[in-house]
Structure formats: C-alpha cells, structure tokens
C-alpha cells in the first residue's frame, strides 16, 4: 500500500536535512509501529506522507498503491485515503467538528465516486463513530479542538479517522496524554477501524499501546533513518533498554557506509 524509498526530506525554510534516507514498506492489513528518540524525524515522516508544504523531498519517493504521491496536494492524498492523526492537533475556533467532517467526508466520497451524505444522514453516521470511541455527542458541535483537553484532542483525531475511513493512517503519538481507560478505548477504536484492507502506522514512545494494538512490524527511527526493524518484541526490548544500544549500531553503520 505504501512504499517509502530512500526518502530525504529537508526543511523548506533553511534546508536542514531531517530525513536521511528512509525506507519503509507497509502492506494492506498491516499494523506498523515507529519508535525512536525525540527529534529523530518521526513526525516529519508522517507529515511528509501527508504532504506538508514545510518539508521538501530532495531525494527518494513515496508511492501509495503503486503511484508516486509526491506531486499531490495534501487534500489529494486525503482523497486517495491517506490520513494523519496529528501529534499536536490544531485548534480551529469557529469551525465545528461536524462542519469540517461532513465537508471532508463528502469531498472524499465524491472523489472516490461514493454516495455523499445529507446533513441528517451524516449526523447518524457520525454518532455511530462517536460511540465507537466513547465520545459524547456534544463534541460534534464543538469547534475543532478548541478548548479540548489534551486527551480529548487525541480522541478527536481517532474520531475523525473513524469518520473518514482512510486506507492508510499515520497516528502520530495518539497514545500520548491518554489515561489508561482512554488508551484502551482508543486502541479498541483503532482495532475496529483497521481491517484487512487498511493499514495503520503508529508513532509512539510507549510500548503500552502495543499491548492492545498488536503491531506486525516495529521500526526504530534514529537521526532521520530507520535504524532497526523487528517484530513486537523489539518494542519490549526498547522499553527495557532504551535507544543507546541502537545509537551505537547506527553510528557504526553510518561510518561503515562512508
């Protein structure tokens, strides 16, 4: 579904290279987890996939369902079925969740040749999704993330994902800031949304969410590269030992390449 090939990404503004050759393949039906120290480039990777303008791809490619999406606008990627749950969800005062999501849902539906929903149909549809992650109805009519608690914002991202029903979801630290019950609810929501036709990539610092959402692959990103990949046991090892042992390996291999 997603193939990232030797991806190099710079900050548009000052040209600093953040991603230094990322390779990652995510297939239909898979759940991936990306871990790694602060500042290693996990969010940058997520945003590059979603098409954020601040990041310039200087080398490599991102293929979605076999086609390069580098030239596509963020909304065009969304139309194809790419979704990003933000590490820091943006507050948009004055625009309600319902307004945004109905417009987004219908735009995507139109682009994908599916039926659009009228306001009443959409309301019913959205309410089902709210139940899925145990959110109160009032959140539909509240301004997007405005005044939401940290945990509510994260939950709202998953709600949006549930409504838009994307093929590929990058969830950037959606588990951070959630209490234990909320974590279970959100994990449960993710499990219900993810089926054999979809793929999910969790960016996380904690092994805990992986107890509920079992990843098929775990990757460690260090200094703009995937330094190691493995199965869910890798996450357990990282939880116990941290990243030091990998940093050494990474730097050795960097040296080895030179």
């Amino acid at each position: 579904m997603l193939e990232i090939k030797d991806l190099h990404v710079c900050v548009e503004e000052d040209g600093t290279e953040i991603l230094k050759g990322v390779n990652l393949t995510i297939n239909k039906g898979e759940i991936h987890a990306i871990m790694g120290p602060n500042g290693s480039g996990k969010s940058t990777l997520s945003k590059a996939v979603a098409g954020h303008e601040a990041y310039e791809v200087t080398q490599g490619d991102i293929l979605f369902e076999g086609e390069s999406i580098l030239e596509l606008e963020p909304e065009e990627r969304a139309h194809l079925g790419v979704f990003l749950a933000f590490q820091y969800p943006v507050e948009v005062p004055g625009v309600t969740n319902k307004t945004l999501l109905r417009q987004a849902y219908n735009t995507i539906a139109r682009e994908q040749g599916r039926e659009e929903l009228d306001p009443l149909q959409f309301e019913d549809y959205a309410k089902d999704k709210l139940d899925l992650i145990d959110m109160k109805e009032e959140f539909l009519d509240r301004s997007i993330n405005a005044g939401f608690s940290g945990g509510e914002k994260k939950r709202n991202e998953i709600f949006q994902m549930a409504v838009l029903n994307p093929k590929l979801s990058f969830l950037d630290e959606t588990d951070s800031g959630l209490d234990i019950d909320a974590l279970k609810t959100v994990a449960n929501g993710i499990n219900q949304i993810a089926d054999e036709d979809k793929a999910v990539c969790l960016v996380t610092h904690y092994q805990r969410i992986l107890d509920y959402v079992t990843p098929d692959h775990v990757h460690v990103m260090i200094d703009g590269k995937i330094a190691k990949s493995g199965d869910k046991d890798l996450a357990v090892k990282l939880e116990e030992q941290g990243y030091d042992w990998l940093t050494d390996v990474a730097s050795v291999s960097v040296n080895g390449e030179q």
Binding site: E75, P89, Q103, Y105, T107
Partner: protein, 445 residues
C-alpha cells in the same frame, strides 16, 4: 479637540446647493430642515486628509466628480425581489435611489399603533411624531456630511414604536441603488424611535444593483427610551464603484439596550460613523462590525461610544478581512465622562489580512475621566494560519474550502449574533462569494 485650519476644497458638492431649493414646497417642516442644512454646508468646509480624523482616506474622487440628484434621474431597474427577506414580507420599506417605492413596500405585519412610513409622505401629512424626532438625535456637530444629508433631505424611513409594543417581525429597510448612466447622489434619512418598554428589530440593507458610480449618504437616528430594546443590523452591499458615507446615531436611555451589527462588503470607499450616546444610567449597547473587502476597496469606521452616566456595559468587536490592495481603517473612541462610574467597556479590532498589499490602520482611542471603570481594548492583525490550513487540507478540503472555512469561522462570531435567520444565511453566502473571489490571483497580491 483643537480645530485644524483647513483650506477650503472646492467641490461639486457645494455647487449642488444651487439646486437644493427646487426640493421645497411639499412640506414646510422639511423645507426648514433643508434650509438649515444648506446653510451649514455653506459654512463648513468638506474634510480633507489634513484633518486627523480623515488622514487615512482620500475623498478626491468624491470631490472631483459631479453628481446629480438621484430623484431627478429616470430610473430603470430589474426585478430585485430576490433581496426581500422572508421574515419581512409585510414589514418592509423599499427606497429606490432614495425615493420611497410604495409598490414594493408593505407594513401590514406591524401592530396598528406603530407609526411607520416614508418621511416625504409623513411630512406632507404634517405628522407630529416625525416633527418631534427628525433631526433631533443625529448629534454630529460640525459634520458637513450630516448637514449635506439635511440639505437634500427628501425621503427616508420613519418608525415610531409606542410604549409597551413589541414588533415581532423584523423591519426590512431596503435601499436599492440602480444602475445609471450618470453619477448620482442620494441622502436618505432614517429615524427610529422606540418608546418605553418597546422592542424592534431593524435590518438596514443597502444594495447596489449595478457596478456604477454613485454617492450614498445615509443618516440614521435612533432614540431608545427607557427599557426599550432595538436590534439593528446594517448590511452595506453598495456597488463596488460607489462611495458610501454613513452616520448612525443612537441615544440610549435608562435600562435600554441597543444592539447593532454593521456588515461592510460593498462600495469602493465606505465610511461608517456610529455614535452611541448614553442618556441615563444603566444602559447596554453593542456596536459590532464585520468588514469584508478586497480589490482596492477602502473601509473606514470611526466610532464613538460616549459613556456619560454610571453603569453602562458596552461591547464593540470590529472584525475585518482584507485582501488585495484593500485598506481598512478603524478608529474607536471610547469616552467615559466624569462621574460615569461602573462602566464596563469592551473594544477589540481584529484584522485578518489575506494579502501582502492589504493595509490596516487601527487606533483605539480611550478618553476616560472617571476612575471606577473597566475598559478592555485591543487590536490584532493576523493571517490565515498555515497550520490550520494544513490541518483542514489533510482532512480532504481543498485550498478554497479550507480558506473559506477559516474566513467563515473568523466572520461567524459577528454573524451568529444576528437573530434574523435569512440575514444570517445571506451573510454566509456573502462570505462564500467573498472567499471565492479571493482565489482569483489578481485580487490576491
């Protein structure tokens, strides 16, 4: 304030006074008002940029061009019934180029006790209430534009709501300006008196049907007696070549509440001067504004909130969206007179600048002579947030949809307070059309 010495600028407006006498003969009362107005115009120079209050805008276009009296022109216009509000089917007064159109008006929905009609007819009938209130509340000292309006006062709306009467249906005051070959000017006057314990909702609606040049100079006087409640929405959708210079004065008595929302979308140059005068203790007033301008439009709001007695709550949120080379000016004066204690006044001017060449001048001006006063005031100039745009786009909205949603959200705060549903809807459409224009690359410079 010290008077600035001013060179007299020769304008065609002054020449027009020669024709002013031709309006006389239908009502002695109006003849007098006009005579006095003409006298004042003769003695008052028209403002120029040299005056502090006029330094940001140029009236050269207004002074250089010649204008004809609108009522002297033959009018020819298309059907404009699309602009009628469904809530005001039988509570509407229509003025075409300043003259009353009985054919398009209806006041059947209003309680019988309410005096409502056009000034020309009421004056000809010698209506006492009109005589009592006309030109009593427009307290614009030495203002040549108010005088000019008086000098050519022919027609306009008059409403008197007696004690204890609540007018349920919103009253739509529809000022239609037609397309014409010649430049014309129109000077409508609106007088609204809400007697004790009465209530009324007004929608003052200025619409230009063409893209022609004209000069629209409306003066609105409102008098709110004790415990009355007046909601006043003004929508200015004049032609994009028009000049709109407006004065609105409201006197607010004890326990009365004046709530106003002014929407500015049209005119090449517009200047609004709302002035609220507190006439007694315990009053509330709102003077909110929403300005949506682009191209080379100029919108200027000079407001005065005059707190003269204790216990007042006032609110002014003036929001502007500026694109292209448009220019927004805001000067909000808040006076709190000596002994006017316990005043709670809020003022904010928020600007959303969509282009590099757009311009904002903003100046809150507080003059406070009392000590037990809470005045919050401020001004901001911001742009559409890239993060917000990206967030919305990542959900599938295109550039146009995302911008529109953000501009709409910015504007909504004002629009959502307007209690007439169809007005809310038409303003949402205006915001939509406005943002649609914004993607036109020529406008976004």
């Amino acid at each position: 304030m010290a008077k600035v010495k001013q060179q007299t600028e020769q304008t065609f407006l002054q020449d027009l006074l020669d024709f002013q006498g031709s309006l006389n003969g239908k009502s002695e009362f109006l003849d007098e008002v006009r005579l006095k107005g003409a006298e004042e115009v003769r003695n008052t120079p028209f403002p120029t940029k040299k005056l502090e209050d006029w330094k940001f805008i140029s009236l050269r276009d207004l002074y250089r061009d010649s204008y004809e009296l609108a009522s002297n022109l033959e009018v020819d216009f298309p059907d404009f019934s699309e602009h009628f509000l469904p809530e005001s089917k039988e509570s509407r007064l229509v003025f075409i180029n300043g003259s009353f159109s009985a054919e398009h008006s209806s006041t059947k929905a209003l309680p019988e006790e309410v005096v409502i009609g056009n000034i020309a007819n009421l004056a000809a009938e010698g209506n006492e209430q009109l005589k009592e209130h006309l030109h009593k509340h427009a307290d614009f000292e030495d203002d040549v534009f108010t005088s000019f309006n008086s000098a050519f006062l022919e027609d306009g709306a008059f409403i008197y709501v007696p004690k204890d009467v609540t007018v349920e249906a919103p009253v739509h005051l529809l000022f239609i300006q037609t397309d014409a070959d010649k430049n014309y000017f129109t000077t409508s006057r609106t007088v609204v008196v809400a007697d004790e314990d009465s209530e009324i909702t007004l929608v003052e609606d200025h619409i230009g049907l063409g893209d022609n040049k004209y000069f629209n100079l409306p003066v609105v006087e409102l008098n709110l007696e004790d415990r009355s409640f007046v909601k006043h929405t003004k929508i200015q959708r004049d032609s994009f070549e028009a000049i709109h210079i407006a004065r609105t004065a409201a006197s607010v008595a004890q326990h009365a509440n004046y709530e106003s929302y002014t929407i500015t979308r049209g005119a090449k140059l517009s200047r609004n001067e709302p002035r609220i005068f507190q006439m007694d203790e315990e009053v509330e007033f709102t003077v909110d504004g929403l300005v949506l301008i682009d191209g080379d439009q100029v919108s200027d709001t000079h407001s005065v909130m005059d707190h003269r007695f204790s216990h007042a709550e006032s609110h002014q949120l003036h929001k502007c969206v500026i694109n292209g080379k448009a220019h927004s000016v805001f000067n909000g004066k808040i006076y709190v007179q000596k002994d006017a204690q316990k005043i709670d006044s809020f003022q904010e001017n928020r600007n959303l600048l969509l282009s590099r060449k757009g311009l904002v001048n903003t100046k809150p001006q507080l003059e406070i002579f009392a000590d037990d006063v809470v005045c919050t005031h401020g001004a901001t100039v911001g742009q559409l947030e890239e993060d917000e745009l990206f967030y919305l786009k990542s959900r599938g909205l295109d550039e146009q949809q995302a911008r529109e949603l953000l501009i709409y959200a910015f504007a909504l705060e004002t629009i959502e307070n307007i209690t007439v549903d169809s007005v809310q809807e038409l303003l949402v459409d205006e915001v939509h059309r406005y943002t649609e224009r914004q993607l036109d690359s020529e406008l976004t410079v």
